[in-house]
């Protein structure tokens, strides 16, 4: 019983990070129909830049803020220099562009920062909390609370503010949004900035638990992509559900079956889900325009 609880705790913690990465995918996908394989690099940058900031003597909150702002700027640059010029390119080209971008970001990080593996200090100490026989790191609570806060804030943003609704309108129908006077270029820029900032925040939150290095981006991107697909691409609720589900499944597999196949089961389940529901759990029915 306490084992199960322990696995659930670690599953929810990791799942919250996957959910945030999946949310980042979703925001960019909605605004531009691009699946951004560089999404994992945002998480990596969030962690790595904060680490560098702390090493330079900055207080952690300031370092984290700088990391998030810088990563958001990098997200905007990605849109301006790589995605916008390739508008309307086929899916394969877009996949290669974003993967190229992720390799590029990795390469620059490796040169500008370093190749080492780093941890951030925990936000509120390392003394574990004991709940019903399971131990919970205080940092896990930070991760989960951070994820919840972001999802709530975004939900408010998308439903209550004019700008948020403009983003939704653009993702529904770009041309129609343009015709009613929405600046769709700005929406694109905003989406990339938001998505990068969310990724960076996820990186800051998780780095005290999972050490970061310039290489961690790609596997996070794959997991986040898988989580987004699991929930149904383009649906924020789906991103949350897919992320948590993926985290839980990984933790349970690692606990009860084999830690070697932890990553495999995620992809296995995704294949199964895609075969059964070809559009993901929350996806809409496919309608093909002829």
């Amino acid at each position: 019983m306490s084992d199960l609880l322990q696995f659930l705790v670690s599953g929810v913690t990791v799942g919250a990070v996957y959910a945030l990465v999946a949310l980042g995918f979703t925001i960019i996908y909605n605004a531009s129909d691009v699946v951004n394989f560089a999404q994992g690099e945002f998480v990596m940058l969030g962690g790595m830049i904060s680490v560098a900031g702390v090493a330079a003597g900055l207080p952690l909150p300031l370092a984290a803020l700088i990391a998030i702002a810088l990563t958001a700027a990098i997200g905007v640059a990605l849109n301006t220099f790589a995605i916008e010029p390739a508008r309307g390119a086929p899916v394969v080209s877009l996949i290669i562009i974003t993967i190229g971008a992720s390799i590029f970001i990795r390469g620059v990080t490796q040169i500008v920062l370093d190749k080492g593996t780093h941890r951030l200090p925990s936000f509120s100490g390392d003394d574990p909390i004991h709940v019903l026989g399971a131990t919970v790191l205080p940092q896990s609570l930070w991760v989960v609370a951070g994820a919840v806060a972001i999802f709530v804030a975004l939900w408010l943003f998308f439903t209550r503010t004019l700008t948020g609704r403009a983003v939704l309108a653009t993702s529904n129908n770009r041309l129609a949004a343009q015709l009613v006077g929405i600046n769709t270029r700005f929406v694109m820029t905003l989406s990339f900035a938001l998505s990068a900032a969310i990724g960076a925040l996820a990186g800051v939150l998780i780095t005290p638990i999972l050490p970061t290095s310039f290489e961690i981006g790609i596997s996070l991107a794959l997991k986040g992509f898988a989580a987004a697909m699991l929930g149904g691409m383009g649906n924020p609720k789906g991103a949350l559900a897919g992320g948590l589900l993926l985290g839980l499944m990984e933790a349970l597999t690692a606990g009860y079956i084999s830690s070697h196949y932890k990553d495999a089961v995620a992809f296995f389940v995704i294949l199964a889900v895609l075969f059964a529901f070809p559009r993901g759990l929350y996806g809409s029915n496919p309608v093909e325009r002829v």
């Binding site: 394969v92 590029f104 794959l222 995704i270 070809p278 496919p286």
Partner: protein
């Protein structure tokens, strides 16, 4: 006499293959050359799948892995000669592609991408984790096929890299010839038709599911043969061969050169295989340059290098 595009492609390929060794200062260059050919064989398969039929696969390195490990495991456990193991590996890859392809190819776009990606990741994980069979992450030894010894008996003496350069080059040439023939065959035309529009192709009486499956199986066989050749010449195979990054590299090679054309795919394979060799001088900047090349070509030459260059030349001629 005017050459058809097929003949001119094969001629260019043959001339390059035969002429290059005259500029090789050492055996090392033969080795790099045969690596180019191995990658190119797999990429020709991707050209058929992505360039002809318009389907994406982010997991094709999985088939390379299957082909490679077939050459290590079949001789060791079933006493199959390594040369025959290549054929058996191709058959196994084709069969797996047939089974997996049926449900996967119903998916489109990004969903197809993630499904094939999942397949590739699963294959590489099995290869890395089932250490009792595959030797685990360190890889496994592969026996010598003995063809070089056979050639020596009939009086053809080649160094090891020279032999593999010639052998892989020959296989690539045959593979390219088959792919070019396929392009103009009814099967190839069906593939290109469904690339243009699935609805239109279906209306014209093409069995889309079957055509896609054909392309998937054929490209899996190409990848498998490439994996086998890689394993045999390295005398070693590791799970990295089947990894995600390798799948991405293959797709990038195909699209970089121009996914629609066999020659483009081969050129892309050559470029991306040689680039890291050149960039070792720059070491730390390897990733930066590779990323820039990938983005730059896709943004500025979306059709790929060879088709873009061809258009430029034709434009001048008129």
């Amino acid at each position: 006499m005017r050459l058809s595009p097929k003949q001119s492609t094969l001629l260019v390929l043959a001339v390059l293959m035969i002429a290059s060794p005259f500029f090789f200062p050492s055996n090392y260059y033969y080795r790099v050359g045969s690596l180019v050919f191995v990658n190119a064989i797999a990429v020709v398969g991707i050209v058929i799948l992505t360039g002809y039929a318009g389907q994406i696969s982010l997991g094709h390195a999985g088939f390379l892995g299957i082909g490679g490990y077939a050459c290590a495991l079949l001789p060791a456990h079933f006493g199959l000669p390594p040369a025959l193991a290549v054929v058996a590996g191709a058959a196994i890859s084709g069969a797996i592609a047939y089974v997996v392809g049926r449900p996967i190819l119903k998916l489109k776009g990004y969903y197809l991408a993630v499904a094939t990606l999942g397949f590739g990741v699963l294959v590489s994980m099995v290869l890395a984790n089932e250490g009792w069979l595959t030797g685990g992450p360190d890889g496994i030894k592969v026996p010598d096929p003995g063809i070089r010894a056979l050639l020596e008996q009939v009086g053809i003496e080649l160094t090891n890299p020279q032999f593999w350069y010639a052998f892989c080059g020959l296989v690539l040439f045959i593979g390219a010839w088959l792919a070019l023939n396929l392009r103009e065959s009814p099967t190839g035309r069906a593939l290109r038709a469904l690339h243009g529009s699935e609805v239109a192709a279906r209306t014209a009486g093409i069995d889309i599911a079957k055509a896609k499956l054909n392309a998937f199986v054929i490209s899996a066989v190409y990848a498998s043969v490439a994996g086998s050749l890689l394993a045999l010449q390295n005398r070693l195979i590791t799970p990295d061969v089947a990894g995600f990054m390798h799948s991405i590299e293959l797709v990038t090679m195909a699209v970089l050169g121009g996914a629609g054309s066999v020659l483009g795919g081969i050129f892309g394979a050559a470029l991306l295989t040689l680039l890291p060799q050149v960039l070792t001088v720059l070491q730390d900047y390897e990733h930066v340059v590779l990323g820039l090349v990938m983005m730059g070509v896709m943004i500025f030459l979306p059709a790929g290098l060879i088709p873009s260059a061809r258009r430029l030349l034709r434009g001048r001629g008129e």
